[in-house]
C-alpha cells in the first residue's frame, strides 16, 4: 500500500465542479491511468481518495491537495506520468510525493487558505480602501449563511489591496480554515459591500500545520 500526495491546480470549467464531483474526477482519472487504486472494505467499497480542503463552487485554485492510496508500490515517476496523460481539461498537476501512510489525514492539518480576488467592476481606490479598513477595524461581523448566524470577523486573518496589472482591482484575502472555523471569500466580499458575482476568486495558497 502506497499513500501519495498530489498537488494540482483546478481551473477553467472545473471551477464549476463541486468537491463531491471532484472526488469522482480523481477516481476516474486513476482508473483511466490503470493505477491500482485502493478501495475501502465493506459492502460499498469506496476509492481511497482524501481531499485537503473543500473549495467553494466557482473558484479556481492554484493549490489543491489530495491523498490517494494505491494497492501496489509504484515508482512516483510512473504514477505522475500516468496521471498527466489522463487528467481532464483544467486540472494541472504540480507535485506528486510519497507520504507516510500513518501521517494524519489531510483535512486535519489545514490551517488557513489564501485567495486572490479580481473585481470585475471598477471601483474608486479610495472607496475600496475605506471599505477594507472598516472591515478590519470591526470587532465582529455577524452574518447569516444557510439560516445560521455566525461571526465572520475572527475567521479573517488578512485582507489587503494588491497592486493591479490588468486595470481591475485586486484583493488578497487570508481566511482561517479549521474544523468548524472556515471562512468563505464570497462572504468577505459581501461584508465589504461588494457583489460576489462580479468577482473572480482564486485560491492561491493552502497553509498547513507547520510540522507536516
Amino acid at each position: 500500500m502506497e499513500r501519495i500526495r498530489i498537488t494540482y491546480a483546478k481551473k477553467e470549467a472545473l471551477r464549476y465542479t463541486s468537491n463531491l464531483d471532484v472526488h469522482k474526477i480523481w477516481e476516474r482519472m486513476l482508473r483511466r491511468a490503470r493505477l491500482p487504486l485502493a478501495y475501502s472494505q465493506g459492502f460499498h467499497p469506496q476509492p481511497r481518495i482524501n481531499q485537503a480542503a473543500p473549495l467553494p463552487l466557482g473558484l479556481t485554485s492554484q493549490v489543491e491537495i489530495v491523498d490517494i492510496w494505491l494497492e501496489d508500490d509504484l515508482p512516483l515517476m510512473d504514477v505522475s506520468q500516468a496521471i498527466v496523460k489522463t487528467s481532464p481539461p483544467g486540472l494541472e498537476l504540480f507535485q506528486v510525493a510519497l507520504v507516510d501512510p500513518h501521517a494524519p489525514a489531510l483535512p486535519t492539518i489545514v490551517r488557513a487558505s489564501e485567495y486572490q480576488v479580481t473585481l470585475l467592476d471598477p471601483i474608486d481606490p479610495a472607496e475600496l480602501e475605506a471599505k477594507v479598513t472598516n472591515l478590519l477595524t470591526a470587532t465582529s461581523l455577524v452574518r447569516e449563511r444557510r439560516g445560521k448566524t455566525y461571526d465572520l470577523r475572527p475567521l479573517i486573518e488578512e485582507v489587503a489591496i494588491e497592486p493591479s496589472s490588468d486595470g481591475l482591482p485586486h484583493l488578497r484575502i487570508r481566511l482561517s480554515m479549521r474544523e468548524n472555523a472556515t471562512g468563505r471569500p464570497d462572504e468577505v466580499l459581501m461584508a465589504l459591500g461588494l457583489d460576489p458575482f462580479a468577482a473572480r476568486i482564486e485560491r492561491s495558497q493552502l497553509i498547513l500545520e507547520p510540522s507536516s
Binding site: 463541486s18 464531483d21 477516481e27 490503470r34 459492502f43 467499497p45 463552487l57 481532464p88 458575482f197
Partner: protein, 635 residues
C-alpha cells in the same frame, strides 16, 4: 445579437454562480473535442433539447459526435437546453444559445442537429431555436441561417414539427449524417439558394423534407391525401438503415458533474424480433443486427481506458434474444467482473435463465432486478403479443429472490386495447402474489416495486388505430391500483394522466398540430417531460386557439383504411402487415419470435438489395425465397 466566444465567456462568468449546477453550462469534459473553428468547412451543433443531465448520456448523439469529429473537414460541438433558472439569466444578460466546446453562438453553425427521441421535447426545441435567435419556422429562414435537421424515434412521425425543421432523418443517422455534411459542403461551394440545399438533401436515402409535401384533409378532419410538391423528391421516404452495426463509440464524454447515467453504453444489438404490438421501437428498428462478442468485449475495454467510468450498460431492446447471450455474459464477466465495475444488462426476458445471466454479471454493487410483463393476465398478454405464462413469471420470480435480490421491479402498462378493470385488478393481485413468494424466500427483506405507466398508441405499430384511454378511465384504473397496492414491501409508481395525454396527441398528431405546439410554447410550455413543469392549461389554450380538439387525436378509433399523417414515410414494415397484426390482436392471436419463422412484415422485400449484399447471419431474419421484390430505395 451575435457575440464572440470571449464575450460569451465573460457574460457567463457573471451569471453562472446564480444558477443551480453551473457545471451543466461550461463543457470542458474529458474526451471533449475542440477543433480549430477556422480549420474546418462544416460546423455542426448537436442538440439534445433537454437539460445537460439528460442529454449528455444520450447514445445517439455520442455516436454522431464521434462520427462527425472523425472527419478532418467538419466539427461537431454540443448544446443542451438551459433549465428555467439559466434561461432567465441568459435572457436578462443577453446571452444567446452557445456551444459548450468553443462557446460559439449557435446561429454561427452551419448545421443544427436535434435529437428527438420522444415527443415531449418539441416545445423545448422551439425554445432552443428562439434562444439561439434563429427563426422558428423553416419558411422564414434565409441563406445565412443554419440548416435545422432532426432525427430520432419521435421523428418517425415528423408532422407536428414539420414547419420548424428543414429536414428530418428518418431512421439511423450514422451514414445519413455524413452524407448531409457532404451535401452541405457541395451546396456551400456552389453558392446556391436554400431551396437548392433542400433539393440536394432530398436525394439522400432517409431524408425527409417536409416543405416538399402538403397534407390535405377530409371534412371530418382526417387526412385525405399527402401531395408531393417537388418532382425530384421521393413519393415515399424510406427509412434509413445501416446494413450492419458500424464501430461503436469508445470516447464517451466524462462529465464533471453528476448526470442521469454516468456510464459506458454498448449497443449489443439493434432491432427486435418479438413484435410486441405496443412497441414503437420494435417496429421501427427492424431488422435485427447483432454486434459480435469480440467487438463488444474490445469496446468495453477501450471505453474503460478512455473514460474510467464505473458502470457499463449492455443495451438492446431484448437482451435475452441476443443469439449467444450466454457466451457474451461469460466473456464479459471473465474479463470485467470484480473490478469495482457495475455491469447492467437490462431488458431481460421473463425466464429463469435471466436470473443466471444476471448473477454472473453481479459485482459488489447489487441493485434490483427488473422485469416487464406489461400485463397481468394471459389474455391481455396475448392481445399485446407478449405471451408469457403466469407460471413462467412466478418461476422466474422465485429464481431471482432465491439468488438474493431482495428488490424486484415489475413494469406494467394500463390502457392496453380491450383492457377491463379485471385486467387491472390482476396487476395488483399478481404483484401481491410475487411479494408473497419473495417473503417465503427472504422474509420481510423482500420488496416489490410496481411501475405502472399508461399505454400511448404509437404510429407505425399494430396499435396505431386504437384510442388512448381517457383521463377518467386512467384515473379509475390508477385509483384501483393505489387502493390495492399499498402496504409494507410494496411500492407503486404511475404516470400522471395529463402527461400521458400530452404524449398521446403529439404521437399521432398531424401537421396542424404544429400550430398547437407553437401556441403552447408561446404560452410558456416547455420541459413537458418534467413533473416539475405543468403546462396543461397552456396546451388546452393552444388547442382552443387553433380550433382543434385534443380528443380527435387521443381518443378516436381510426378507420382501418385511414390515411395517416405519416403515410408518406415508409419504415419497411408494411401497413398490410400492421393491419393484419391489429386484427389478430382483437382475436388474441399471437406471433412468436420471427427469428424462427418470417411473418412477412415487409422488411426483407423492402430492403431486398441491401439484404442480398448482406446475406446470412448479418441480419437475424430467416432466409426466405420470394419472387416478389418491392424495392423501397430509389435506384
Amino acid at each position: 445579437m451575435v457575440a464572440s466566444p470571449i464575450e460569451i465567456q465573460s457574460r457567463l462568468e457573471r451569471v453562472l454562480l446564480k444558477v443551480q449546477k453551473p457545471g451543466r453550462y461550461v463543457g470542458g469534459e474529458y474526451n471533449e473535442v475542440v477543433k480549430d473553428w477556422d480549420s474546418v468547412q462544416t460546423h455542426v451543433a448537436l442538440v439534445f433539447p433537454d437539460i445537460y443531465d439528460i442529454g449528455l448520456p444520450n447514445l445517439g448523439l455520442a455516436i454522431l459526435y464521434e462520427v462527425i469529429n472523425q472527419r478532418p473537414d467538419a466539427l461537431a460541438e454540443r448544446a443542451y437546453c438551459p433549465w428555467t433558472d439559466m434561461e432567465t439569466e441568459m435572457r436578462q444578460a443577453g446571452i444567446a444559445m452557445y456551444s459548450l466546446e468553443s462557446k460559439h453562438d449557435i446561429c454561427n453553425f452551419d448545421i443544427l442537429g436535434f435529437s428527438l427521441p420522444y415527443e415531449t421535447l418539441y416545445t423545448n426545441t422551439l425554445n432552443f431555436l428562439d434562444l439561439s435567435g434563429i427563426p422558428l419556422f423553416s419558411s422564414q429562414r434565409t441563406v445565412g441561417d443554419p440548416l435545422v435537421i432532426a432525427g430520432g424515434h419521435a421523428a418517425f412521425n415528423p408532422e407536428p414539427m414539420a414547419p420548424f425543421i428543414d429536414a428530418f432523418v428518418i431512421g439511423e443517422g450514422e451514414e445519413a449524417m455524413q452524407e448531409i455534411v457532404t451535401a452541405h459542403q457541395a451546396w456551400k461551394a456552389a453558392g446556391a439558394s436554400r431551396k437548392d440545399l433542400l433539393l440536394r438533401l432530398a436525394k439522400i436515402w432517409g431524408v425527409y423534407i417536409p416543405s416538399f409535401y402538403e397534407p390535405y384533409y377530409n371534412p371530418d378532419g382526417t387526412v385525405s391525401e399527402i401531395v408531393k410538391l417537388e418532382e425530384s423528391a421521393p413519393d415515399k421516404v424510406a427509412k434509413r438503415l445501416v446494413a450492419h452495426l458500424p464501430p461503436p463509440p469508445t470516447h464517451f464524454l466524462v462529465p464533471n458533474v453528476d448526470v442521469v447515467h454516468n456510464r459506458i453504453a454498448v449497443e449489443i444489438m439493434r432491432g427486435c424480433t418479438r413484435g410486441c404490438r405496443f412497441c414503437h421501437a420494435g417496429m421501427i428498428t427492424r431488422p435485427v443486427r447483432e454486434r459480435p462478442i469480440p467487438e463488444i468485449v474490445e469496446t468495453i475495454q477501450q471505453s474503460l481506458d478512455n473514460t474510467g467510468f464505473e458502470e457499463v450498460a449492455l443495451l438492446s431492446l431484448s437482451s435475452s434474444d441476443y443469439t449467444k447471450i450466454g457466451e457474451l455474459v461469460d466473456a464479459v464477466s471473465a474479463r470485467f467482473v470484480g473490478k469495482h465495475l457495475t455491469i447492467s444488462l437490462p431488458s431481460l426476458r421473463i425466464e429463469t435463465a435471466s436470473a443466471e445471466l444476471f448473477e454472473k454479471l453481479k459485482g459488489a454493487r447489487q441493485g434490483g432486478f427488473t422485469l416487464a410483463p406489461e400485463a397481468a393476465t394471459e389474455r391481455m398478454r396475448n392481445i399485446i403479443n407478449k405471451p408469457v405464462s403466469t407460471e413462467q413469471l412466478m418461476e422466474t420470480i422465485r429464481a431471482i429472490y432465491s439468488r438474493g435480490w431482495s428488490t424486484i421491479k415489475l413494469y406494467f402498462m394500463i390502457g392496453h386495447p380491450a383492457e377491463t378493470l379485471e385486467d387491472v385488478q390482476a396487476i395488483a393481485d399478481l404483484c401481491k402474489a410475487v411479494l408473497r413468494e419473495g417473503r417465503k424466500i427472504l422474509g420481510n427483506r423482500a420488496t416489490l416495486h410496481a411501475g405502472v405507466s399508461t399505454f400511448v398508441p404509437k404510429p407505425h405499430t399494430p396499435f396505431q388505430w386504437v384510442p388512448c384511454d381517457t383521463v377518467d378511465q386512467i384515473l379509475a384504473k390508477q385509483q384501483l391500483l393505489k387502493r390495492a397496492l399499498s402496504g409494507p414491501g410494496l411500492k407503486l409508481n404511475w404516470t400522471e394522466p395529463q402527461d400521458t395525454l400530452l404524449e398521446a396527441w403529439l404521437s399521432r398528431g398531424d401537421r396542424r398540430m404544429a400550430q398547437v405546439v407553437y401556441a403552447a410554447w408561446k404560452h410558456g410550455a416547455r420541459f413537458d417531460a418534467w413533473q416539475e413543469e405543468d403546462h396543461y392549461q397552456d396546451w388546452m389554450a393552444a388547442f382552443a386557439e387553433n380550433n382543434l380538439d385534443p380528443e380527435f387525436y387521443t381518443h378516436r378509433r381510426r378507420f382501418l383504411d385511414e390515411v395517416f399523417p405519416w403515410e408518406h414515410l415508409n419504415i419497411g414494415v408494411t401497413k398490410k402487415f400492421l393491419t393484419q397484426d391489429y386484427t389478430w390482436s382483437l382475436e388474441g392471436k399471437t406471433r412468436l419470435d420471427c427469428r424462427q419463422k418470417c411473418f412477412a412484415c415487409g422488411i426483407l422485400p423492402g430492403f431486398a438489395e441491401l439484404r442480398r449484399q448482406n446475406p446470412g447471419e448479418v441480419w437475424k431474419c430467416p432466409e426466405v425465397s420470394r419472387g416478389r421484390v418491392n424495392v423501397l430505395l430509389p435506384a
